[in-house]
């Protein structure tokens, strides 16, 4: 038995047109832009450090922290205040910066008079200084001579810790100002 399939001419034309439309519309849904699937594989980074060491012709002295006499006096509660430059946290800190590995001469005035701001009156402060080529107070060495030769480290640095003693037994009440002077020169 034969089976024949016939379609109406109008239907054939419509079906052909719709088929063409489907093909056309199908192409519109292909994602040209890959936004939906974008991740970031294969992204790498490396950090490079740029460095330079400046050697000054002059030796620079930086004050890192001041000596804490007030704190020391509160802790010690006695007439004579003493700050050990090697062991006490109240010691002042200074840093010299100059030419790496350079030999330098350090000198300072150990005994200095400090003056009362409110009027007449003064005290005598006896400075003690220790030093080391690295930032390690407990390992620092007391610089007992008035002039001492030391060597700056490979970065051109040298650290000083400033302590000392002062007797407040006969001191008038008030604020006292004084300066500590240290000199450093290349040998």
């Amino acid at each position: 038995m034969q089976t024949q399939l016939h379609t109406h001419p109008l239907k054939r034309q419509l079906l052909t047109t719709l088929a063409g439309l489907l093909v056309f519309l199908g192409t519109m849904f292909v994602p040209i832009d890959g936004q939906a699937q974008r991740g970031q594989p294969g992204r790498h980074a490396v950090t490079i450090t740029a460095t330079a060491t400046v050697i000054g012709n002059a030796i620079e002295l930086l004050t890192i922290s001041e000596m804490s006499l007030i704190q020391a006096s509160q802790l010690q509660q006695q007439d004579e205040i003493y700050i050990n430059p090697v062991f006490d946290a109240e010691a002042g800190i200074m840093k010299a910066i100059g030419q790496p590995n350079a030999q330098v001469r350090v000198s300072y005035i150990a005994e200095r008079e400090i003056f009362r701001r409110e009027g007449p009156g003064s005290l005598v402060f006896y400075y003690e200084v220790s030093g080391l080529g690295s930032d390690n107070q407990r390992e620092s060495e007391l610089l007992e001579d008035l002039e001492r030769e030391v060597r700056l480290n490979e970065n051109g640095e040298f650290y000083f810790w400033i302590g000392g003693r002062v007797n407040l037994g006969n001191a008038l009440s008030g604020s006292y100002d004084g300066e500590f002077t240290i000199e450093i020169e290349y040998i």
Partner: protein
């Protein structure tokens, strides 16, 4: 109007109508396909020898210190990536184009960081550095392996499980100038970080 004409008319109207309707983001887009989104492309980047751009010891009052691209102090980066892909290299210099003094970040020295690239195959890194093409600006996109000439080859094999694409080496050289700016420079160590990013 006959039935056939009606159907034709309807089809034409429908076609015109649908053509005017925007279908998401597909219409109006430029045809750039991000192949990097399709598959996990391997990449390796490493510094050859040293990874520090060391301008060395300088004295206040010295002239500017120049590290050229073929200078042994320049930093050479070796990039191993898929041969037929393009890669983008982005350079981020130290903030403010300054190397900052250690322990004193308010004090700095001006620096100009530059880069150059070489993509003509696996060669001695020093040769690559000397022949590298200087980049104007902080970003460059280039093929991992420059095509020597002739017509383009066949399309690459799509990424799939177990497939390792052909790899090649390209080089990026990092160099620059330290601007000492005359007298008044404080002694000490100065440094700054340079970031180099590479992606497909």
């Amino acid at each position: 109007m006959g039935s056939i004409a009606k159907y034709n008319c309807f089809a034409v109207v429908l076609l015109i109508f649908l053509s005017a309707v925007p279908f998401g983001s597909a219409l109006g887009q430029s045809a750039r396909i991000n192949f990097g989104a399709y598959g996990n492309r391997p990449m390796e980047i490493m510094a050859v020898g040293h990874d520090e751009l060391a301008f060395g010891q300088v004295t206040a009052g010295d002239p500017d210190v120049v590290i050229a691209q073929n200078d042994p102090r320049a930093v050479i980066l070796e990039i191993t990536a898929v041969e037929y892909m393009d890669i983008s290299v982005t350079l981020t210099p130290p903030p403010g184009n300054q190397l900052l003094r250690e322990g004193d970040p308010a004090t700095g020295i001006g620096v100009q960081i530059k880069m150059a690239y070489f993509n003509q195959g696996n060669v001695d890194p020093e040769i690559a550095a000397a022949q590298a093409t200087v980049v104007t600006g902080d970003m460059i996109t280039f093929p991992v392996r420059r095509r020597v000439g002739g017509p383009p080859g066949p399309p690459p094999t799509p990424s799939h499980a177990g497939y390792t694409p052909p790899m090649a080496k390209a080089y990026v050289v990092i160099y620059g100038t330290l601007n000492l700016g005359g007298d008044g420079l404080k002694a000490g160590k100065y440094s700054g970080d340079i970031l180099v990013e590479v992606s497909y």
